[in-house]
Amino acid sequence: MLNQPLKQVGIVGYGAYIPRYRLPAAEISRVWTEEIESVSQGPRQGKNGLKEGRATAAGIEKAVPGLDEDTATMSIEAARNALARSKVDPQEIRAVWVGSESHPYAVKPTGTIVAEAIGAAPAAQAADWQFACKAGTEAVQAAIGLVGSGMAPYALAVGMDTAQSRPGDALEYTAGAGGAALLLGAAGESVAVIERSLGYVSDTTDFWRRPGQQFPSHAERFSGDPGYFGHVLPAADQMMREAGLTAAEIDHVVVHQPNVKFPVRAMRTLGFESEQWENGLLVAEIGNTYAGSALVGLTAILDIAAEGQLVLVVSYGSGAGSDAFLLRTTGHLTAARMNAPSTGEYIGRRIEIDYAHYVRLAGKLAAH
């Protein structure tokens, strides 16, 4: 069922953030080759499966945060970029919501740190959302409701992560860092109108982390079907059916990107062609940015989309669920995009690191 607010809502500003360090997948396999040989016996095809990691390791890399970066600092910069593109007075923002699975504190909101730093405090809601990789788009849905009901002129939703992975685990190939902030407001002043949205959830245990555990666990065989494909495909399908659209009528599509293979298979199944997804498919360059993944892909699309184009966004979070959004870009987009660094510019400021440097940045020496 599609969600429709009372007042139509749009994205009035958007901003990306991607840290500058890059760890090539080939560097991970160099260090862990023997480990991989011993655990990759037999067929396995999970989320970020080892076989995929090895099969596609050439040229693939992930973004790694610096020593002084975390989900709070990265959210602040993405939010400042969204504000710069909007020209909104931050004192008019009534909610600062950050979706992540790597909040710096277990108890104390990231949202208040971001709200204070961008000048949105004190007259605002500020909280953190948790839904694995769907936390960011869940915040977007809530922000649509807040603005669309007339409770708030503007609400900021962020999806940002510095994804954790156990050293040597399959997840290490792709667990990246980055995300995006969307400032939502009235459709009339937006760079992209949110025409429709919907959510699709079920209780599916494919990836989780218990309290006190530093690294997540995952059920390899479960994470493709019924996890990822069991939510992304029906959410997208339902959106297209209820909107009366075929894949060919949609200009750009971006879905959650745990690796290269899953999103490409999903988008192909839905009837899309590579020209429709190439601008938003960033996982080979920055890794899986978890709660930031679909949203940072959307920012890369907004960086190049023309006026009046349709964009389909579908997130996925383990546990499990998808949010789908249908956007139409407006005439404000071209001028607004110039007011902050593009997602491509963030990807371009690339500093390659080796595994030793990665261990230092990730604090893994202290953890083991």
């Binding site: 020593l67 002084d68 975390d70 600092t73 710096p104 740190i113 204070e116 730093a117 007011n339 660094p341």
Partner: protein
């Protein structure tokens, strides 16, 4: 710094919030009671643009507790475009690449952590200008 003094200074640390003097119109950072330029009462709050240039810098090898994990790093005197001089760590740059007069911009980063269970302290640092389109 105590939790109380960190709390009082959060806006100047996160976003370079200073003041403008109502009498001599100088930008003031950090905010204070009396204008350092004309000695009148300091004025309304004003957030600095965050842009400036490196006036001087030094590489830090011997660092205080709480900063050990980040060493070595570069600390600079940054002259803000509004006038005030601030001392801050440079980030997203290696020391060999720092030059006097280099244009920099403010970013909010993690300054230090008070151990594994204490407060995480955020504040301003400066990096080489990375602005789109200008």
């Amino acid at each position: 710094m105590s939790i109380a003094s960190l709390w009082r200074t959060r806006q100047q640390r996160y976003s370079l919030q200073g003041e403008t003097c109502p009498d001599c119109h100088q930008a003031i950072f950090p905010p204070r009671d009396v204008c350092p330029y004309c000695s009148e009462a300091a004025g309304p709050l004003h957030t600095m643009s965050g842009r400036g240039e490196v006036y001087s810098y030094t590489k830090m090898l011997n660092v205080p507790d709480g900063f050990l994990a980040q060493r070595p790093y570069t600390v600079a005197l940054v002259k803000l475009e509004e006038g005030p001089m601030v001392t801050a760590q440079l980030t997203d740059i290696s020391e060999e690449d720092v030059e006097i007069g280099m244009p920099v911009e403010m970013v909010t980063r993690k300054l230090r952590e008070e151990g594994d269970s204490g407060e995480i302290v955020y504040g301003y640092k400066f990096r080489p200008v990375f602005a789109a389109a200008d």
